[in-house]
Every structure is written in C-alpha cells, then in structure tokens.
C-alpha cells in the first residue's frame, strides 16, 4: 500500500545534523532582532506602562528574519509552513501569559516563568498534533476521493 507524502512525513522529527548548516551570520541577525525588540519593549514600558511594554513581548520580531532566511535557503512554500506553525505558537503565547500571571500572583517567584514556558510548549505541541492530524486526514480523504 502506497503512502501519500503527507502520511510518509513524520509528525515531528529531530535532526541535530542540521545545526552544522546554521551560519554564524544568521545567528547574529537573530541575536540583533532579539536584543532590539527587548530594548523596544523596555522603552515602551518606561515611557508608558508595563502592560503596553508587555504587548511587545509577543511581537513577531523573529518571524520576519526566520522566514526571509527560509525563503532564501529553501522555498516560499516552506515559509508558509513555518508561519502556519507560528500561528499555533502564538496562541501558545497567550497560554504562556495566562499561566505566568497565575503563577506570579500565587508565588511571586521567577519559577512561575519556567512553568509558563512548559505550558507554552505543551499547548503549542498539542495544538500542532491535533491540527496536523486533522489536516492529514482531510488530505488523505480528498486523495481517496480523487483516485
């Protein structure tokens, strides 16, 4: 029985070898974006209030650099896939914020941020698995319909 490309592709995989292809310049660009948006968030917070500055903690600062690099190295189609993943990651940011708020209100400890980071990972990966399984099922049903 033949598998469709979507079925053949693993749901998630780790390839440590890909790290060898990462150039120092690409990391420098990302570092600069991360540093710059941190300064912007800090300045907005100082100029207005922490809530306004806090919005910039979820600004899509890294995404433009990432998808520009992916487009250059791979294809526009791959950038679309990356942004589709980012939608779910961004929803996970809301979970991060809600868990961080609850944790900070209860404990006041920086450890609440680690719990929030874990909540982001859990919520994002769960959303990805659910959405991806639905997408693959729909593609396989439409593929069977066409054959």
């Amino acid at each position: 029985m033949k598998q469709s490309p979507a079925q053949a592709e693993p749901l998630a995989a780790v390839d440590v070898g890909k790290l060898r292809k990462v150039k120092a310049r690409e990391l420098a660009v990302r570092f600069a974006f991360g540093a710059a948006i941190s300064v912007v968030a800090g300045l907005v917070s100082l100029a207005t209030n922490p809530t306004a500055g806090g919005m910039f903690l979820a600004f899509p600062a890294i995404l433009p650099a990432t998808i520009t690099l992916i487009e250059r190295k791979e294809s526009t189609a791959q950038t679309v896939h990356d942004v589709q993943g980012a939608v779910l990651g961004a929803l996970g940011l809301m979970v991060f914020a809600l868990v961080a708020r609850a944790g900070l209100e209860r404990t006041g400890s920086p450890a609440a941020l680690l719990a929030a980071g874990g909540a982001w990972a859990g919520a994002s990966v769960l959303a990805y698995v659910v959405v991806e399984k639905i997408r693959r099922r729909m593609r396989s049903v439409s593929g069977e319909g066409n054959s």
């Binding site: 433009p64 942004v83 993943g85 940011l93 809301m94 991060f96 920086p110």
Partner: protein
C-alpha cells in the same frame, strides 16, 4: 542609570534566548512543527526574568497582561499574512504580519485599559 543597566541586560538576555530557541527550531522537522518556535516565548522569558528579579512580581504581572493581547495579535497577524506570503513572498508577508500586529495590539490595548 538603573534603567539603562536593566535595558542592557534585557537586550543581552533577549538576544541569547532568541538564538537558543532558533537553534532548537532549526533541529526540528517538518517546517510546520519547527514553525512553533518562530513564536516561542524567547523574548518574553528573557525580559520577564529580568523584570521579576529586578522589580518584583507586580510589574511582571502587568507585563504578561499585555502579552495576552500581543499573542492574540500575533496569531491573527500570521493568518492575515499567509495569503500575502503565498503570493508575494517573505518580505511583503512579513510587512503584513507586523502591520496587522501593530493595529490589533493598539486596538487590544485600548480595550484592555479602558
């Protein structure tokens, strides 16, 4: 002076966390999965750690309140940018994502503070 030191620490921390999450994302496949890390809480973790340690939980709580609005605007910005990305590429798609984020975050902030 304390504000300048705090900003410098946030910048350094922010850059390092972003690089760390980016390396993690580079290792993962397929792209839809690694894309989660394009919206990782790297800047949030880096900055909130400094905020909570330097100024206490109160300012951290106020910051994450704004982050809920930012995260929502991020997700909708990505959805708005996808068709432009498909047709016109990464540069214009990025512009739409960031512009949509700015508009939605401004509206969300007005709703949040009023």
């Amino acid at each position: 002076m304390q504000d300048v030191a705090s900003l410098a620490l946030k910048a350094l921390n922010g850059g390092l966390f972003v690089v760390g999450f980016a390396l993690l994302g580079e290792m993962l496949q397929p792209k839809r999965f690694s894309g989660l890390f394009s919206a990782a809480p790297s800047i949030a973790l880096a900055n909130l750690l400094v905020i909570v340690l330097a100024k206490g939980a109160g300012e951290g709580i106020a910051s994450v309140r704004g982050m809920v609005v930012g995260g929502f605007a991020f997700a909708l910005g990505c959805l708005a940018g996808l068709p432009v990305l498909r047709r016109h590429g990464a540069m214009r798609g990025s512009l739409v994502i960031c512009a949509t984020w700015l508009v939605l975050a401004a509206v969300g902030y007005r709703v949040l503070v009023l």
